[in-house]
Symmetry: C2
Subunit: 165 residues, 2 copies
């Protein structure tokens, strides 16, 4: 069976080592907290205004400000800054926390579309950091698609033989 | 609904801020790689030799050397060292990766019993680091118990009304 990271690499086209090239430099020290806040604010403004209702509706039960804070605190923690996310919410546990959401290939691509736009609109991120971050995001998005598919593995087939009883 | 970290704190008796006091000092720099390898080797030697078959059997399909490497690479990464785990396997995704296993309260306590013994047997870990690590482990164990319970949330009730059809 393929592992989560093998699926993520194959589906995203980003090798695990390229995804985690974010660890080669300290992006938090390079970019600073405000840049991460700006990025997540820009990203979720696009998401909550998305003209594609099927995607926007995934976030309908989440508060926009909470979504922004959860995201930038995770990014800061993962990209060399203080562990803001864990201090407040515990382990990132990305697959577990995405469990309520339908993380399909299509949703991953829409998420990445908005993130690319948000990165491009955040002028204080240099090109090298943008490439590193986008590789990380692309791999992670498909890592979560792989994680989402685990949900189907131990669901019971409903009442398969009930009619014959 | 209680969040994962609220359940983890309540069930473990360790507040989230105390669990993540591991971030106050760089435990990797303090203890060094070999100490983490020794700790995980000691831990899994106890686990794979556990006289309690129900617990030992949880690990029966995993290779002991792989289990040791997965664990110390995660600990090193989470406690201030290089991201060894992510470079090889991607995100820790603790809840997602524990999905195949029955992470019950009883299993958490047995895991913690062996980890306490392993910590006590690893003489090059100072008492302050031991307390910090054990708080982190205790909170994390119950975080995973909380994560495990998510598995039951969207399982279908099998054939509830089949008899009446």
């Amino acid at each position: 069976m393929q592992s989560l990271q093998q699926k993520a690499a194959e589906w995203s086209g980003v090798a695990t080592e390229d995804a985690f090239a974010i660890d080669e430099t300290n992006l938090f020290q390079k970019l600073g907290l405000q840049t991460f806040i700006n990025l997540s604010t820009n990203f979720y403004t696009r998401v909550y205004d998305d003209e594609e209702e099927w995607f926007r509706s995934i976030f309908a039960n989440s508060n926009k400000q909470d979504a922004i804070q959860n995201q930038y605190e995770f990014f800061v923690q993962r990209m060399g800054g203080p562990p803001l996310f864990s201090q407040r919410r515990g382990h990132p546990a990305l697959i577990g926390r995405h469990r309520p959401f339908p993380v399909t290939h299509r949703a991953a691509e829409r998420w990445l579309h908005h993130m690319q736009q948000a990165l491009d609109a955040t002028t204080d991120i240099d090109d090298d950091s943008k490439i590193k971050m986008m590789n990380f995001f692309r791999h992670t998005a498909y890592f979560l698609v792989a994680g989402d598919e685990l949900k189907n593995q131990n669901q019971q087939v409903p009442c398969k033989h009930a009619a014959g009883r």
